[in-house]
Amino acid sequence: MLDVLQAVFVAPFKDMAGSPAFLVEVLIGGLFAGLMYSLVALGFVLIFKASGVFNFAQGVMVLFAALTLVGLLERRVPVVLALAVTTVVMVALAFAIERLVLRPLVNQEHIILFMATIGLNFFLEGFGEMLWGANVKKLDIGIPDRSFIVRGVQINELELTAAVTAAVLVTLLALFFQKTRIGRALRAVADDHEAALSIGIPLKTIWVVVWSIAGVVAIVAGLMWGAKSGVQFSLSLIALKALPVLILGGFESVPGAIVGGLIIGIGEKLGEVYWGPLVGGAIENWFAYVLALAFLLVRPQGLFGEKIIERV
């Protein structure tokens, strides 16, 4: 019994203190992984904020964007043009989703919309693979996947690029939400659909805009994840990775998605490296969820979520 306690509560911390450089490396790895999760979670948050739709298809949107991009690059389309075309495709997708899925389901229960996005998930998965094929593709965006060493700590160049991209993206989004006219309209819609409608904010346009932005975020996420692990079907499963980030940070919060991603990323790596061997490893599938669950028990709306106010 004492051995177990020792193994769980003492030994891992001893290991950490023993080799600080390794600990820092683990932490940095966790931070980068977390940022990658955040990129996906960001798409969820944007859509949930503006339309209250829990968009399960975000993971497949990432896959779809990456597939389109790779498909174009394989046909020797210049990178810039390929990015532009992919953006156009994602915006067109946003229009189609608004017209064919969201508008007919307006005013329905949240769970119905959630289910509709799972249907969308199936559809896009089939559609993307039909257009571009199902085999694994390599996405080369010119950033070498190599590491350099700063003060004895290994840093991966690709992950660093992803981190910088994520930071830029979040800053841009924050500016867009706070400073622009459309951004304010988006926040108004997020606050209250009906009130926003009654002061003349066009709900349909807003939804198209927000799904388009989520599509662009999906392109960025697809770019990063695709460069890291290749473009293949399993890319759509990162949605499942982003979910604990989402509940940890709170569904409505952009900063929550980032901070949640970092916490999950670091927690996951620490758990995997220091506690994983105790239980036979392969814990990354559920560890993030349990971690998020532990946070939720203290704050049921996530770290940055809107305070849940309930009354009879």
């Binding site: 229960e109 009354r311 009879v312």
Partner: protein
């Protein structure tokens, strides 16, 4: 009655709102609520029977207000006849006839393919869907952990059946349901604090954790090197009903018997005290708490009973359908599939669970055979992709056509038929 919603007593439920001062959006929502003509949720919680569904309502927090309402239209003279399981005469006749037909016809007529590939999975998934419907449709707790609870049932049944070979297989099923219920109880505890989509994502923790556990701990598979569990041969009333040598008919009848009994139990649960307290929690949990429904007991009971059903269904899945399985058979896609059945079938409807299960089991079979039937020869990969697209599209289509599910369509059909040929 609507005016009483924001009395000091009413606000007492939302302590946080009072202490922090009302947020503008919250005030608007409260105003909107006051302006509504009636509160169907509250009415149902008090046991008032409504004849007509209410008008569409603005979206609120994740809740399940669009549910199936009681049918009206036949005059009754006694309480007993009003409280019958099927208050409508035609319903009684049709359900009874269907049940008898289900026991007699398929074993005589259906081919092995139909029994094995369509009817047996249909019955098993229907049982799981009833289980999830009790939790999500009646008690309002969205769960994505169904696959995990089914796995608990399956592995418990395997362990029990191999550890106690003399044990009757029905007892094994029931006990594995009890084990699943205990696990469900454990994973239901967060629901007391976490609600809505947060809870849904949190239940995924159980899904991933349980499957990982069954993969990692070799004890669960009796240290089989392949990591699979295999259904041993077991008999019931002298007939072999599990294992590779049993006939599909025997397995079909076992599954049918179990699902018939459990559907009846569920139907009675939801129209009794337990079901009413579930619905009260679903419709507005704070109000329910104030009128004396205990959230702790009610929610945990819903998780336990739902997991019991899912556990039995999981045990059946291995023993009566697959024969042998690994954890892959219970992965997250199963959870989504069962949730689809519940939503497409109709939240808060037992018959809807059957309809939804039939739909989800049949559609892939129809889709994979359709190109063949019209003489098209497609590459396998392309056909699979088209299947996915059509499946996804169909789900969206059905949600748009009738968000309240097939059960609602069935109800409308019945109402029309009762008035036929002289509608109002």
């Amino acid at each position: 009655m609507p005016q009483t919603k924001d009395t000091p007593l009413g606000r007492a439920g939302g302590v946080r709102a009072g202490s922090n001062g009302p947020v503008p959006s919250t005030r608007r929502r409260a105003w909107r609520r006051r302006m509504e003509p009636s509160r169907p949720g509250a009415a149902r919680a008090c046991g008032v029977v409504r004849a007509t569904p209410p008008a569409p309502r603005p979206p609120g927090p994740v809740g399940h207000r669009q549910v199936i309402y009681r049918e009206a239209g036949q005059f009754k003279e006694t309480y007993a006849s009003d409280q019958a399981i099927f208050p409508i005469v035609q319903d009684r006749v049709v359900v009874l006839a269907a049940a008898v037909a289900a026991f007699v016809v398929p074993p005589l007529v259906a081919s092995e393919y139909w029994l094995q590939a369509v009817l047996i999975p249909f019955l098993i998934y229907a049982l799981a869907a009833i289980g999830l419907n009790l939790l999500t449709g009646y008690a309002g707790q969205l769960s994505l952990g169904t696959g995990g609870f089914m796995a608990v049932g399956a592995y418990a049944a395997f362990k029990l059946a191999t550890a106690f070979p003399q044990l009757n297989v029905i007892v094994v099923f029931l006990l594995s349901g009890v084990v699943a219920a205990a696990v469900g109880l454990l994973f239901g505890i967060p629901s007391l604090r976490i609600k809505g989509f947060y809870l849904a994502v949190a239940t995924l923790a159980s899904q991933f954790f349980l499957l990982w556990l069954f993969n990692k701990v070799a004890w669960f598979t009796n240290y089989a090197s392949s990591g699979t569990i295999t259904a041993p041969d077991r008999t019931l009333f002298g007939a072999l009903i599990t294992g590779p040598n049993s006939t599909p008919s025997a397995r079909y009848l076992t599954a049918l018997g179990l699902v018939a009994v459990f559907a009846l139990v569920a139907k009675n649960l939801v129209r009794g005290r337990v079901g009413r307290s579930w619905m009260a929690i679903r419709d507005r949990d704070i109000a329910a708490e104030i009128i004396g429904v205990r959230p702790l007991r009610t929610k945990l009971l819903a998780f336990a009973i739902s997991s019991f059903y899912c556990g039995v269904a999981g045990a059946e899945l291995v023993f009566l359908y697959l024969g042998s399985a690994e954890t892959l058979a219970f992965d997250i896609s199963i959870s989504f599939l069962v949730l689809f059945m519940v939503i497409i079938g109709g939240l808060g409807s037992i018959v809807g669970s059957f309809l939804g299960a039939a739909f989800i089991v049949l559609v892939p079979i129809v889709l994979s055979n359709a190109p063949h039937a019209v003489g098209l020869r497609l590459p396998v990969a392309l056909q699979k992709q088209i299947e996915l697209m059509v499946f996804g599209g169909l789900i969206i289509f059905f949600l748009i056509v009738e968000p309240r599910g097939l059960a609602r369509l069935w109800q409308i059909t019945k109402e029309k038929l009762r008035l036929w040929p002289f509608p109002h």
